[in-house]
Symmetry: none
Subunit: 240 residues, 2 copies
DNA sequence: ATATCAAATTGGTATAGACAACTATATAAT
DNA sequence: ATTATATAGTTGTCTATACCAATTTGATAT
């Protein structure tokens, strides 16, 4: 594993070697790896050099140190945090389910006062109102009402909104969603919602309101969703 | 800047000192900082100790190294600490409410299999179990059960957990929470929860499970909360 | 059996020194 | 003027050692 005459630094060779053992499963998550002194003696290298290799792996999240106990393979997976700014379709696929959409209604309405404020348009200006039933593996999972200013996406059709609206926006309209705020709250299903979602009236549901914004801060859409609590949990990873 | 008789490690003192100089603007972005040997001689400490301090700052994105040239203050700004990674107390104050806590129970229990996995401790190892009723403006708003490995915070007391645990952790224990995952789901209150929260059985509640991690990826705590849906909405801002 | 203490083991901090690799600059040779 | 060459300064790698701090283990006393 270690070649002292290689042009590659020793710490780097050891680092890659340990990483490989983890990735091949020769070292299991949670398992204690040999102590620093053990590596040092086994390959006849300085303990400080071993520490340099292990330090890097700790920084990369592969290993966890515990003073007095040992160094362990991390249990938490290394993964790119998909920051939650995903479309319904992406979200469902990430959960291993097949997304589906049934358009319940598609029309334009004059913006109410509240909506106008949130979308930064004049009160009464035309906005799309899109009601959709969202499916996961052919079963209802959420009810959505989306509002989008007509001026931003002039030629929206029912066909488009039956697919992935986000992909259409980004690919065809060259608009990029830059940020969003989401508000989540717990509630219980009302009669009309329960019927569409095929649950009982009074069953728990998760209400999510998402406001999405473009690069320049212009609001793109407001979406109010009602998710079946028995089929949907919202997960978010945060770092600082 | 360096006190050799301080209980704080020398590399840590230097690290904080340099960081402070950057944040105060005494070292400007792009500027070359003194060389490793210079720090070493100036404070009469070993160059390897200087390297440890600088390494950490490089890993944190404050500095950039260039072999043969020097070490420079990074031009790109450090990401502003945390949106959403707030303590209950911070959260409540941000909402204009006065936070309060009533400790319902405080004990140590052996970690269950699931908990051991999540906290990265051995099954059966002692963990604190802290049950708290959270108040906002003197009224119940949430029920919390937190689990923390005893080994990480050896001398936790009931007095401490009746205040802000996070502030205690960061200020007194020198542990920094680096990331967290949160899972939110809607549910309805069971009898025992309803009584404590002063709501009706079957009323909607928001369940939040938060897993917090330290800098090295070590899990610090698992917190399961039950929030009154009528008094609490979860809001998050996301950017990409 | 249980509690206590001591030893062994582990990672954490720190030192002093050496040489390599790279960059920039000054100097000398062409 | 241009091109080598030396040299001084930088970070990068590595060694060998020492002691500290936290934890586990095992022996011992009760």
């Amino acid at each position: 594993m270690i070649n002292k005459h290689s042009p590659l630094p020793i710490y780097y060779q050891l680092e890659q070697g340990i990483k490989e053992m983890i990735e091949k499963g020769q070292l299991q998550p949670g398992e204690m790896i040999p102590s620093e002194r053990e590596w040092s003696e086994r390959y006849d290298i300085s303990r400080m050099t071993v520490r340099q290799a292990i330090n890097n792996l700790v920084n990369d999240g592969y290993l966890v140190r515990q003073r007095g106990k040992g160094t362990f393979v991390a249990t938490k997976k290394i993964e790119q945090p998909l920051k939650g700014l995903t479309s319904f379709s992406e979200d469902m696929r990430a959960r291993g389910m097949e997304p589906g959409t049934k358009v319940l209604s598609f029309s334009t309405i004059p913006a109410s006062s509240s909506l106008a404020g949130q979308l930064h348009v004049s009160e009464g200006e035309e906005v799309y109102e899109i009601r959709r039933l969202r499916l996961a593996d052919q079963l209802p999972i959420a009810l959505e009402i989306a509002y989008v200013p007509c001026s931003l996406v002039p030629h929206l059709t029912e066909e488009i909104v039956s697919g992935s609206f986000y992909e259409f926006i980004e690919q065809k309209q060259l608009l990029t969603i830059r940020s969003a705020t989401q508000i989540l709250e717990a509630s219980v299903a009302r009669k009309v919602e329960a019927d569409l979602l095929q649950i009982k009236e009074g069953a728990p549901v998760l209400l999510i309101q998402r406001n999405s914004y473009l690069e320049n801060g212009q609001p793109l859409e407001v979406v109010k969703s009602v998710y079946r609590a028995d089929r949907y949990k919202f997960m978010i990873e945060m770092e600082r």
